[in-house]
């Protein structure tokens, strides 16, 4: 009875959000129809709760309660605050593409002199005037997940990147999501990257809040299509305000002999969820998906990965590390399915959590479903505290308790960070971890 009631309330609340936002949502005709379907799906499902198996550990009805109204389009003041935040989180040696409050900010972005190998448009442009095939691809994620459906219904802007066949894009593309304002509001963005055949590119996504931006909501999604023989390196950095919500989804498809190396580091936001569906659809492909959660206070971070091996001769590796202090809660759900045709699949997943306090919590749920008989698959999960004998050895050599812990924690997360192929980005992740450790005092 309670469930029905809650659902109705959420649905009504979301309808209000949509009604207010309607004239800011790009696209008409077919696009508007698809939005309507997505909205209906979301309203039918309501916010995910603990009785939805995929969301068991991240009950948004308890943690988030409601979807906030759409953030206003950024004015000059908002852009100024965003620019200041950008300065604090600057990454050198990338091509920056900035979304402020969910809207492309050309003045903060470096989208000129792209050359012939990359085409970058905004989601708004593509939904308003793009070709039908690309629009269809943007709506490819189905509406079975309530938060994906909500994102499909509400997406206002985002970045659509196309990398030409055979292009080698040396400069990483960096999409920065900035929340500018103090008023609690929600951003709905969707981006897409299509890497052409035998092309190579690097994509960084980071999420930050300007000074004073607090309990905002990020609702984001990313669609990735990696062509035959192509490679994409991908890094996500969640550095949102510690009161913020970040609900992100990714849908990734790999062609034949393609390679996807992805890494996520989460040390921001109050509640975050990253759910990725990776379809290994072409033979001879490789996937490495790794991540680190660094949580304290009452932070809650959920990483839910679904790796779908549909064809033979592919490999996948997942290395995930969580460090949880105070009353933090880390969730890792990793599901690998090896379909009957996918012989010679080599899939491995290892998730480990380090609990630094008695009240810290980590849930690891690895799942392996194998329907082929000639495969190498394995998974493992551990949860524990720092090893006292290692701590004593370090302290007997002069390191203080905090220093000894920091060194061991760095080594613990290092195993996942080392998997980042791009050296500059690897250094970036290492220094983010060091900053987190330094802030522990």
């Amino acid at each position: 009875m309670n469930v029905v009631l809650a659902k109705t309330e959420t649905a009504n609340a979301t309808s209000d959000v949509i009604a207010v936002a309607r004239d800011r949502l790009p696209g008409t005709g077919k696009v508007a129809d698809l939005r309507r379907q997505a909205l209906e799906a979301h309203q039918r499902l309501g916010l995910p709760h603990r009785r939805i198996e995929d969301w068991k550990y991240t009950d948004l009805r308890v943690l988030m309660r409601e979807v906030l109204p759409l953030a206003a389009a950024p004015d000059a003041e908002a852009l100024k605050r965003a620019a200041a935040a950008l300065k604090l989180h600057a990454i050198a040696g990338v091509r920056r593409i900035v979304l402020v409050d969910g809207v492309f900010a050309p003045t903060l972005s470096e989208t000129s002199d792209l050359g012939k190998d990359i085409n970058i448009r905004t989601l708004r442009e593509v939904l308003e005037a793009g070709d039908a095939a690309l629009q269809a691809q943007l709506f490819a994620p189905d509406n079975s997940d309530a938060m994906v459906a909500l994102n499909s219904a509400m997406m206002t802007d985002g970045i659509v990147i196309e990398v030409a066949d055979n292009a080698a894009i040396a400069l990483p593309l960096h999409i920065v999501h900035i929340a500018s304002g103090a008023a609690p509001a929600a951003m709905f963005t969707r981006s897409l990257i299509r890497v052409g055949k035998h092309a190579g590119a690097t994509l960084v996504e980071s999420y930050i809040g300007a000074e004073g931006a607090k309990a905002y909501q990020v609702h984001d999604s990313l669609i990735v299509a990696i062509g035959d023989g192509a490679r994409l390196d991908h890094v996500r950095l969640i550095e949102d305000s510690r009161e913020a919500f970040n609900i992100s989804s990714a849908v990734v498809t790999l062609g034949a002999n393609a390679h996807f190396n992805t890494f996520g580091m989460n040390n921001g936001s109050l509640v975050s969820r990253y759910q990725a569906v990776i379809s290994v659809a072409g033979e001879g492909s490789r996937v490495e998906t790794n991540g680190v959660n660094l949580l304290n206070g009452r932070q809650h971070a959920d990483t839910t990965l679904f790796l779908d091996h549909a064809v033979p001769n592919c490999s996948s590796r997942e290395i995930f590390r969580a460090v949880v202090d105070d009353r933090g809660h880390s969730v890792f759900q990793g599901r690998i399915i090896v379909r009957p045709r996918a012989q010679k699949t080599d899939a491995r997943m290892m998730t480990r959590a380090l609990l630094l306090s008695d009240e810290a919590e980590a849930d690891n749920k690895p799942e392996l479903e194998i329907f082929a008989d000639d495969v190498t698959c394995g998974h493992g999960a551990t949860t524990g505290a720092l090893d006292d004998s290692l701590l004593f050895y370090l302290r007997a050599r002069g390191l203080s308790e905090k220093e000894a812990q920091a060194l061991l924690i760095q080594a613990f997360v290092g195993e996942a960070i080392e998997q980042i192929a791009n050296e500059a980005l690897r250094e970036l992740a290492i220094s983010a971890a060091q900053r987190w450790l330094a802030a522990r005092g």
Partner: protein, 250 residues
């Protein structure tokens, strides 16, 4: 002033008393050997001096350079000049030996109010000491003790001793698990560190090690006490007569 004074030390582990009033005085420049059968409390003594958690001191005191050692954390003791060479040095995957050595050395220097070593000076120093101990450079790049042989682990302990320049070295069963060649290399490293300002306490079950590291004093421990002290000839005596006579004495 004595370097180390252990006075009437009583120590418990989980309700069981392991040391029952142990006393020991060590002056700068001296080498003391502590011998005794398994379970006599030798390693407990080394752990309590280094500050390992899990031991409850119920009586007595330990003074180091006149200061109350028992009030200091393990890292403070290390900075003051106490060094324990572990019987079983731990493996620390993911922490490169070089990083560990630099972090430890600088932490000790910082605690003493000294300036941190510059990287080139540090590297020069490590390379020189490592070469004298036959420690190859690639070992320094690996994780601390990860994949090291027993002999390499012990040499790594001696390397640290040489780098940190402590005033008191406690060698806990340094010979365990070493063949004679490995033992000789490690012992040569230790002997090179003998100095009028530095004292060593060598804990061992067997007399063998004392052929290589020749002590000034030998103490026999049994059932948590020193039951006999003497010169280096006491070790040889034990080699022929065994520990049985002391088990009764205690």
């Amino acid at each position: 002033m004595s370097l180390l004074e252990v006075k009437n030390l009583q120590v418990r582990v989980e309700e069981r008393e392991i040391l029952h009033g142990l006393s020991l005085t060590v002056n700068p420049g001296e080498i003391h050997a502590i011998m005794g059968p398994n379970g006599s409390g030798k390693s407990t003594l080394s752990h309590v001096i280094a500050g390992k958690p899990g031991y409850e001191v119920t009586g007595g005191e330990i003074l180091f350079k006149g200061e109350n050692l028992l009030e200091m954390s393990p890292d403070q003791r290390s900075a003051k000049g106490v060094f324990l060479a572990f019987q079983y040095p731990v493996e620390i995957p993911g922490v490169a030996t070089m990083t560990f050595l630099r972090t430890a050395l600088n932490a000790q220097r910082k605690a003493r109010g000294e300036s941190e070593f510059s990287t080139p000076d540090f590297l020069k120093k490590v390379r020189r000491v490592a070469a004298s101990l036959n420690i190859p450079q690639d070992m320094l790049r690996r994780g601390v003790n990860v994949g090291f042989s027993g002999g390499e682990k012990k040499r790594n302990e001696v390397l640290q001793m040489a780098l940190f320049e402590p005033s008191l070295c406690i060698l806990d069963e340094m010979d365990s698990g070493l063949d004679i060649d490995a033992l000789r290399v490690a012992a040569d490293g230790v002997n090179a560190l003998r100095s009028p300002d530095r004292a060593m306490v060598v804990i061992t079950h067997y007399q063998r090690l004392l052929n290589y590291i020749v002590p000034d004093f030998v103490h026999v421990m049994s059932k948590g006490k020193v039951v006999k002290s003497g010169g280096k000839e006491l070790a040889l005596e034990l080699e022929t007569s065994g520990y049985a006579q002391f088990e009764d004495a205690a």
